[in-house]
């Protein structure tokens, strides 16, 4: 393997500009790595030829001095972003044959900055899952393995293709989307960094909708700085998304220091949950020590409604999903199944039964139930009230501190198939990431250490609305002090 694939985005930018290597060499090395990594099932759709063509154009732009900041940087796109002329699936059979005639706002911005996509990365179907096992295109296998074991592990989810591709050195960075933890949990499982910005920072236009009040695009990359570099290209106001924030996008990467003097970091006591890995608890305390060493003051805070966040999420998210996924009816795009002599209604029901996988069907059923007449007040309205209390908890905590430090997930990665029998056991993966999603806050996972089996564990930083800078700085402080995550042995080659 060429060492071009292990570099940071910042080092790639410098190398391209100094002429140490060309964009064609850089992208070519990543295409070769992607071809060798096919056993991991990272991509749903590969666009290697288009990537090589774009790389040659990037070399011309670099030579002419017209290149964007991410010119020639090889990335992957979660297959939930609509891409013009490139099949877009949401990892679902229901979108069979769908090729968008338009480009999502986020991927258009990345293209404009010069980033080069190697293709569309695998995910849980409609981003509903925490292990990438609900994909209609098969599960992603994590490049990470436990010490002394060759058991296949999940890469986390729903952005599992993104986390695995970045960890396997197939792309320098990848887009993700996060509804309840779908960037942060897979980043933690694969030993990389991942940031979900404030709700509204990145336009949802052209991102296939799951739960619109929660969905937010973000980045998975191998360093905090790389996350900042990508995010500043992706974020920005878009009038086509009515919840897009009309706020200036700071130059986060240039402002990164890792210096936390004068900052106060809160440790929410309710995040110490039953069944938490003992090593994870120690790592969390170690993380607080690292932040103290970076100049922060550590305070204990309380988020009293933490335990109610998951059940709240599993009302709000399925309710919004059942509404958003009503559009898949076999009429305008995707799969159509018409039973012999069937009516229009028969077509709708047969198409949706054939096109959606079990987890998506389950969530549509829950969402339809909690929104149905007679149950709306007891479930949906109640959940929106508890959601207000969860948001208020955060606001009160942020009166006492500037940032929060928590674990990202209760455990490290688990074997493929290990948690499929019980949906609730799978949902519990997101116990630490869902509360900040419900409150729309910026949050990030950063690699901090390993569990007893040598599997990566992440710590999560949560900030005030629009304080991505604070989140990134604290994550950088941990990154500077934590052991560097091991590069996975390329056992798949």
């Amino acid at each position: 393997m060429s060492d071009l694939t292990g570099m940071s985005v910042a080092a790639m930018q410098a190398g391209l500009r100094s002429g140490a290597f060309s964009a064609a060499e850089l992208v070519g090395a990543h295409v070769a790595a992607a071809e060798a990594a096919r056993p991991l099932n990272l991509f749903i759709t590969e666009t290697f030829e288009a990537a090589m063509e774009a790389a040659r154009a990037a070399d011309q732009a670099l030579a002419a001095g017209t290149a964007g900041p991410l010119a020639g940087i090889p990335i992957g796109i979660k297959d939930l972003f609509a891409t013009r002329g490139v099949r877009t699936t949401a990892a679902s059979r229901i979108l069979d044959g769908f090729t968008p005639t338009y480009e999502s706002h986020v991927t258009a911005r990345l293209q404009a900055a010069g980033a080069i996509s190697l293709g569309k990365l695998n995910l849980d179907e409609f981003a509903m899952g925490s292990s990438n096992e609900t994909s209609a295109f098969g599960p992603v296998v994590s490049p990470i393995r436990a010490a002394g074991s060759d058991a296949a592990l999940v890469p986390g989810g729903s952005s599992g293709g993104s986390s695995a591709a970045v960890a396997a050195r197939v792309v320098a960075a990848a887009t993700g989307t996060d509804t309840g933890g779908s960037i942060r949990q897979p980043a933690a499982f694969c030993g990389i960094a991942g940031i979900k910005p404030t709700y509204g920072r990145c336009s949802r236009w052209g991102i296939i909708a799951f739960a619109s009040s929660l969905d937010q695009a973000g980045v998975l990359a191998r360093s905090v700085t790389d996350c900042a570099l990508l995010l500043e290209a992706m974020a920005g106001f878009d009038p086509r998304d009515s919840t897009s924030l009309d706020a200036p996008v700071p130059a986060w990467s240039a402002a990164l220091t890792g210096d936390l003097r004068g900052r106060r970091v809160g440790i929410p006591r309710e995040y110490r949950v039953d069944g938490m890995d003992a090593g994870l608890d120690r790592l969390w305390q170690q993380g607080a020590e690292w932040l103290r060493d970076a100049g922060a003051e550590i305070v204990e805070v309380s988020l009293p409604h933490t335990a109610q966040a998951l059940p709240t999420y599993y009302i709000v998210a399925p309710a919004e999903a059942s509404s958003n996924l009503a559009r898949y009816d076999g009429v305008r795009y995707g799969l159509r199944v018409v039973p012999d002599g069937g009516s229009l209604a028969d077509m709708y029901e047969a198409t949706r039964a054939a096109g959606f996988g079990p987890e998506v069907r389950r969530r549509i059923m829950i969402g339809t139930y909690v929104l149905s007449a007679g149950y709306y007040d007891a479930y949906y309205l109640k959940a929106q009230k508890v959601r207000a209390l969860i948001a208020r908890d955060f606001a009160e905590a942020f009166a006492r501190c500037d940032l929060l430090l928590t674990p990202t997930a209760p455990t490290g990665a688990f074997p493929l198939g290990a948690r499929n029998a019980d949906p609730i056991a799978m949902y519990l993966n997101d116990v630490f990431t869902v509360p900040s999603s419900l409150a729309g806050l910026p949050a990030m996972s950063v690699p901090a250490g390993t569990d007893s089996a040598g599997l990566p564990l992440g710590l999560q930083l949560i900030g005030r609305p629009l304080d991505e800078a604070g989140v990134l700085d604290a994550a950088r402080a941990i990154e500077q002090r934590a052991p560097a995550p091991a590069t996975p042995e390329p056992w798949w080659r």
Partner: protein, 95 residues
């Protein structure tokens, strides 16, 4: 609020999801387990709490009410499973 077979069938109809008779009992059990877990929310005191409808408070002005897009019928139909005469085509609705 236990979900029975009849409720599963009614919700499936509302969601336009065909559910085979053989799947109804399994789905009822799954939904009951998830809804039973969700029911813990009923114990939270939300007296006087307004439901959250906007996670990040922000003010957005009104935009001009004007046509900004259009004339792309071919683009819109290109992904349709069936189309004819510039329209989406579906099974016969009226005999």
């Amino acid at each position: 609020m236990a979900v029975d077979a009849e409720t599963v069938a009614r919700v499936a109809r509302l969601a336009r999801l065909r559910v085979g008779d053989e799947d109804v009992a399994r789905l009822a059990a799954e939904l009951n387990r998830i809804l039973g877990w969700i029911d813990q929310l009923q114990a939270v005191d939300t007296e006087g709490v307004a439901p959250l409808d906007q996670v990040i408070p922000f003010a957005r002005g009104w935009r001009e009410d004007e046509v900004t897009d259009g004339g792309i019928a071919a683009d819109i139909l290109v992904n349709a499973p069936a189309s004819a005469h510039g329209f989406f085509a579906v099974p016969r609705v009226i005999e």
